[in-house]
């Protein structure tokens, strides 16, 4: 870290009266750079190799998620949410469905909630595995990357077993899930978790005390608690700064208040702390999944409230209520009561906040998603200025930018 006030005066060149602007070089990194996790551009101002200024430019993956959602029916938005965070799509599905359930004022049955917890934690693990694997690869630990992607594959096979797709899951519905647990799923789950634990312990030995790795990440990108709060950090990066804020604990949703888990925190918020926090969160998620699998109750996986899902075919053909419900759901769609809700859930990167406004007509008025990595990318200048160009790679890797949710 360099003395920033001296640096600032050099950039402005006003304190000494000398013009240093000629020695400052502007270099564009991105939009499509191999070490950029997605399409983003950094205009960096360099003094030699030292970063003295940075301006991130985002929006290359803007697909109009909010506009498209506001021109769809409520249920049609679920597939769009898959594409927000494409390494943990189930968490977005769950967040959106829970927000609409909050708008309705209903809750999904307990079996559906426990299944959601399991699938949500699997997604959180895949998210962390991808992030850590990518960081490690970019700073040279290629084995770690391959091992983690192998472990991620174990979990994505579970996701495929449950939803029929690896990424485009489209799995939750309002008041429940599209499918119940497939036969033998819990056995497969236990088997895969065992394999995941093996990978975790191997990789832990490989990297956590590795001097080459530690030299690259320790004291790089440190961030104070005050700045992290002011920048609106949530998730692993905020916890790495030492603030134990986790939506699962602070605003317990679903059945997280019945499960026992710990919230890992770091101390200085550098890239090494972020690495350790994410590693520990994977272990905690495994514990959560095991508890949820043990406690998995019997019962329905879909609410029995009317007008939330298509009625059974025997009701459609057998009684008038079933027929009318089916007709109205097809023709008009879901019609949540007028009102507005904000539903926070803990995503892989931090707080996913869904803000929905309904006027009761069946067309969403506003579908807003708070992207967790938005604030993190916004803080990139604050995190990198004073470091060297090579440090952008671990810092930006640990930010875990996901273009889909950042640009929406």
């Amino acid at each position: 870290m360099t003395d920033m006030s001296a640096l600032q005066s050099r950039i402005e060149g006003d304190s000494s009266g000398e013009d240093y602007s000629a020695s400052i070089m502007s270099i564009e990194i991105g939009p499509a750079h191999p070490a950029m996790h997605g399409i983003v551009r950094f205009t960096t101002h360099l003094d030699g190799e030292l970063i003295v200024g940075m301006d991130p430019e985002i929006g290359y993956l803007h697909r109009g998620f909010e506009k498209e959602s506001e021109n769809s029916k409520w249920i049609q938005v679920i597939p769009y949410t898959d594409r927000l965070n494409y390494v943990s799509p189930l968490l977005n599905n769950i967040g959106y469905s829970m927000a609409v359930e909050k708008l309705y004022g209903i809750e999904a049955p307990r079996r559906a909630e426990f299944t959601r917890v399991i699938m949500g934690e699997i997604s959180r693990i895949t998210d962390h595995l991808t992030c850590l694997g990518a960081v490690a690869m970019e700073i040279g630990a290629f084995t770690f990357f391959l091992w983690f992607i192998k472990a991620r594959e174990y979990l994505w096979e579970l996701v495929e077993e449950m939803t029929g797709a690896r990424l485009t899951t489209n799995w939750t519905r309002f008041g429940g899930n599209a499918h119940d647990l497939p036969d033998g799923f819990l056995n497969d789950l236990a088997d895969r978790l065992l394999k995941l634990k093996e990978v975790m312990s191997e990789c832990d030995k490989l990297l956590t005390r590795n001097k080459i790795f530690i030299d690259r990440v320790k004291d790089v990108g440190s961030f104070s608690k005050e700045d992290a709060l002011s920048f609106g950090f949530t998730g692993p990066l905020l916890r790495a700064c030492g603030i134990p804020y986790d939506v699962r604990r602070s605003d317990p949703y679903s059945v997280y208040d019945e499960l026992d888990f710990e919230i890992p925190v770091g101390s200085v918020g550098d890239c090494f702390d972020r690495f350790l926090v994410r590693m520990e969160e994977i272990r905690q998620s495994i514990l959560i999944i095991e508890q949820a699998a043990d406690k998995m109750p019997e019962g329905p996986f879909m609410t029995d409230e009317r007008m939330m899902h298509y009625p059974d075919k025997k009701d459609v053909y057998g009684n008038i209520e079933g027929l009318i419900d089916h007709f109205k759901l097809v023709m008009e769609g879901h019609q949540p009561p007028a009102g507005e809700v904000y539903m926070p859930i803990e995503g892989g990167n931090g707080e996913i906040g869904l803000y929905l406004v309904s006027d009761g007509s069946g067309d969403p008025v506003r579908v807003r998603m708070r992207p967790p990595c938005f604030n993190l990318v916004a803080a990139m200048p604050a995190m990198t200025v004073g470091h060297y160009v090579a440090d952008i790679v671990p810092i930006f890797g640990s930010v875990n930018m996901i273009g889909g949710e950042l640009d929406r």
């Binding site: 985002i58 920048f231 602070s250 904000y342 916004a378």
Partner: protein
């Protein structure tokens, strides 16, 4: 069934929460409405007092909202409500473990509001995004550029009167005889 729900909701809405009462005491003229639909405490603030209220929310020990969680706007053109725009701010306090939603109403002709970028650093990009998407002007923002769209883009895409199928390509597109409309009726 529906009657039961509506009476229950009215009760919740007519009851002022702790923070609402506090804001009403501190800024008696600024609070113009409140509700707690589905448990989300919401206070509607007059635009002139907005900056002062935000400062109070951040600094007062009874509030201490450390995190400015989300900032967005709602275009109520199709809801036939006036005024047209509604600014929506979500705050989170870790000290007191609670959330608050602040809303400010803005008319179409005068959609300006004080920037609060100096209170929370997160606000900088949120306001740029909101300006980009809704064309709301944040007075005092040092660098109010578009964030997601490109500089040459005309209009503000999340306004309800911006057509969803409108195209503004930067490069001239080749003539295509039949454009897919993807089954859209409008």
């Amino acid at each position: 069934m529906s009657e039961e729900i509506s009476t229950k909701e009215t009760e919740v809405i007519s009851e002022a929460g702790e923070l609402t009462t506090l804001l009403q005491e501190e800024f008696p003229e600024a609070v113009s409405g409140f509700h707690a639909h589905r448990g989300d405490e919401t206070v509607v603030i007059e635009r002139d007092a907005f900056e002062a209220v935000c400062r109070f929310l951040r600094d007062d020990l009874r509030c201490s909202f450390e995190i400015m969680m989300d900032l967005t706007a709602v275009d109520r053109l199709e809801m036939k409500e006036t005024p047209r725009f509604e600014m929506v701010y979500h705050f989170k306090s870790l000290t007191h473990a609670r959330r608050l939603r602040i809303k400010v109403l803005l008319t179409e002709e005068d959609c300006k509001i004080d920037s609060i970028h100096h209170l929370w650093k997160a606000v900088d990009w949120y306001e740029r995004e909101c300006y980009d998407m809704f064309g709301i002007h944040f007075e005092g923002h040092p660098d109010l550029r578009r964030l997601l769209m490109y500089d040459e883009f005309e209009g503000h895409p999340l306004r309800k009167d911006y057509p969803i199928d409108k195209q503004q390509p930067l490069l001239e597109l080749k003539e295509v005889e039949e454009r897919h409309t993807y089954g859209r009726h409008t």
